[in-house]
């Protein structure tokens, strides 16, 4: 009888397979379109790169009167980006400047309007990218270490051992209940005053430690909620099969909670990414620090626009990665 039902449900599955084939074909067409677009883009970049103006040629365009008038107070910078070249001469004392953009082999003078803004943004990019590198590496390392630490915190908090549970709860209460900025100040400026042995002189390391400790507290709550959302029957089945508490957690509960963890951890990641801007206050040269630096030295608050766009791009990329991870972990539902 059991075998009968077996074959019956087998035949039921066939029409399902047919309908599943259709979206697959659609996805293949979409992927093909994507490859074509990417190919065309690559071709355009290649053509632009081949026709790019040399830096020297653009520098040569800076007006001689400006150079003459400025004399020794004259500074010159230029940047090359594929088909773009920017050259900028500046009279340091009077801040009079002359900017030229080279594009696809031709050179334009740009001292006003949208083109001048574009030239500015391109000049700022190297510093912004350096800052971005620090922001991303701080966020990624701190969240990874925080998640790792938080598993133990969460298990400690739901543990039946009263003392352990109290310690973990206290830790979480402290780090969620005080401002991140104060924690950062305390770890960077306060610890050395307690004992020189506790001093963390590397700014990046101090920020990493603070953010790890802080996001561990937040992630611990996320993980605790995910573990406690697992059906009680899973614990009972594991116990009935003779598994210990540790085995139940390791083999049954935690693997199942990973999928439920991903959306809130992604959220936490994005929060940390933005909170990482606080490290600019201890003068760690992250994206926010670089932006403020440029803003005050060039007296242009417009630099916040490209900086925010960079934040958006990072957020978009990591959101995409987390979405993919979530899909990968939901194969069994």
């Amino acid at each position: 009888m059991a075998d009968n039902l077996e074959t019956e449900s087998g035949s039921k599955n066939k029409p399902k397979a047919k309908t599943a084939a259709e979206p697959a074909a659609k996805a293949r067409r979409r992927r093909l379109a994507l490859y074509i677009v990417l190919g065309l883009l690559a071709l355009a970049v290649l053509i632009l790169a081949l026709t790019r103006p040399s830096g020297e040629k653009v520098v040569g365009e800076i007006s001689q009167p400006l150079i003459d008038k400025a004399g020794s107070n004259y500074s010159q910078q230029y940047y090359n980006y594929l088909a773009f070249s920017i050259a900028r001469g500046k009279n340091v004392r009077s801040a009079e400047s002359d900017t030229h953009i080279g594009f696809a082999g031709r050179t334009f003078a740009v001292n006003a309007g949208a083109a001048a803004v574009a030239a500015n943004v391109l000049c700022w990019l190297p510093a912004l990218i350096n800052g971005t590198r620090i922001t991303i590496s701080l966020t990624v390392t701190a969240v990874c270490a925080g998640v790792f630490l938080s598993v133990f915190l969460a298990l400690g908090k739901i543990s039946r051992r009263k003392l352990l549970s109290r310690i973990c709860s206290g830790y979480i209460f402290f780090f969620r209940g005080t401002p991140l900025l104060m924690q950062l100040f305390f770890i960077y400026y306060g610890l050395p005053q307690i004992s020189p042995a506790l001093a963390i002189n590397n700014k990046f390391l101090a920020a990493f430690v603070t953010f790890t400790l802080n996001s561990a507290a937040y992630c611990a709550e996320i993980i605790r909620a995910a573990i406690q959302s697992i059906d009680k029957g899973q614990f009972e089945a594991s116990r009935a099969l003779g598994m210990s508490y540790g085995q139940t957690m390791r083999l049954v509960v935690i693997p199942q909670s990973i999928r439920r963890l991903i959306p809130p951890v992604a959220n936490e990641f994005i929060m940390v990414l933005k909170d990482a801007s606080l490290v600019s206050i201890i003068a760690l040269t992250d994206l926010t620090f670089q932006t403020r630096n440029i803003s005050s030295s060039s007296a242009s608050a417009l630099v916040y626009v490209p900086a925010m766009i960079i934040y958006l791009i990072i957020t978009a990329i990591f959101t995409y990665i987390f979405n993919r991870m979530e899909k990968r972990f939901s194969i069994y539902t």
């Binding site: 009888m1 059991a2 075998d3 039902l5 077996e6 449900s9 087998g10 059906d231 029957g233 899973q234 009972e236 089945a237 116990r239 009935a240 099969l241 003779g242 598994m243 085995q247 083999l251 049954v252 693997p255 199942q256 194969i331 069994y332 539902t333």
Partner: protein, 252 residues
Amino acid sequence: MALIRTEKVCKNFGELSVLTDIDVAVEPKEVVCIIGPSGAGKSTFLRSLNQLERITSGKIYIDEKLFLHRENNVTVFQQNSAEYKRLLLEMGMVFQSFNLFPHRTALQNIILAPVNVQKKARAQAEEEARELLAKVGLSEKADEYPARLSGGQQQRLAIARALAMQPKIMLFDEPTSALDPELVGEVLQVMKQLAESGMTMLVVTHEMGFARDVADRIIFMCDGMVAEEGEPSELFTNPKNPRTKQFLNSIL
């Protein structure tokens, strides 16, 4: 010699008394069905045998060895931890809600405990798992995740998973209550085969047909007590306790 025997098992949830003085013994190769109205404490009794619930007082013997003795919510005697674990694993449990591990395939569900608890070699565990899958008619589904299986298939897989630990007695806690009516038959079929193969079984069920056909003995529970006990032919046709009569009238 009884495989499982209880003496004056009581279970209270606070003031509420759920089980009162339950004396039950299950002999090897015997199939015992526990029937009764809902709230009678049938499931609680089964769960307190394999320690998913702690009894308030009473004694539980496994293989005629005292396994647990408690009085007033205090443990008077309990086997040492190694022996406790060994005796506990003589009972396999099948739940009403299957409780399969959704993140593991059918085969992985079965081998998880043998590999990690009994420390069996993976290859050997897999071979045995495939035999068990064949036994419950799921050979084709070895690599499917539970979510892809029908309710009946899931429950059959749960039975195979419990059997993989080679228990001496199988406890079934309303194994067909969560199933669509047309899927009940396949699970009962597997349970019947299991009974015929000589497995000792203690089954809490509402399937009177199954109880009548397969059980060697029926226990009728009511208000946390064993109200009547007897062979199915006797108990179904000629119940002595008025509560049994009333219950059978209401469902047949």
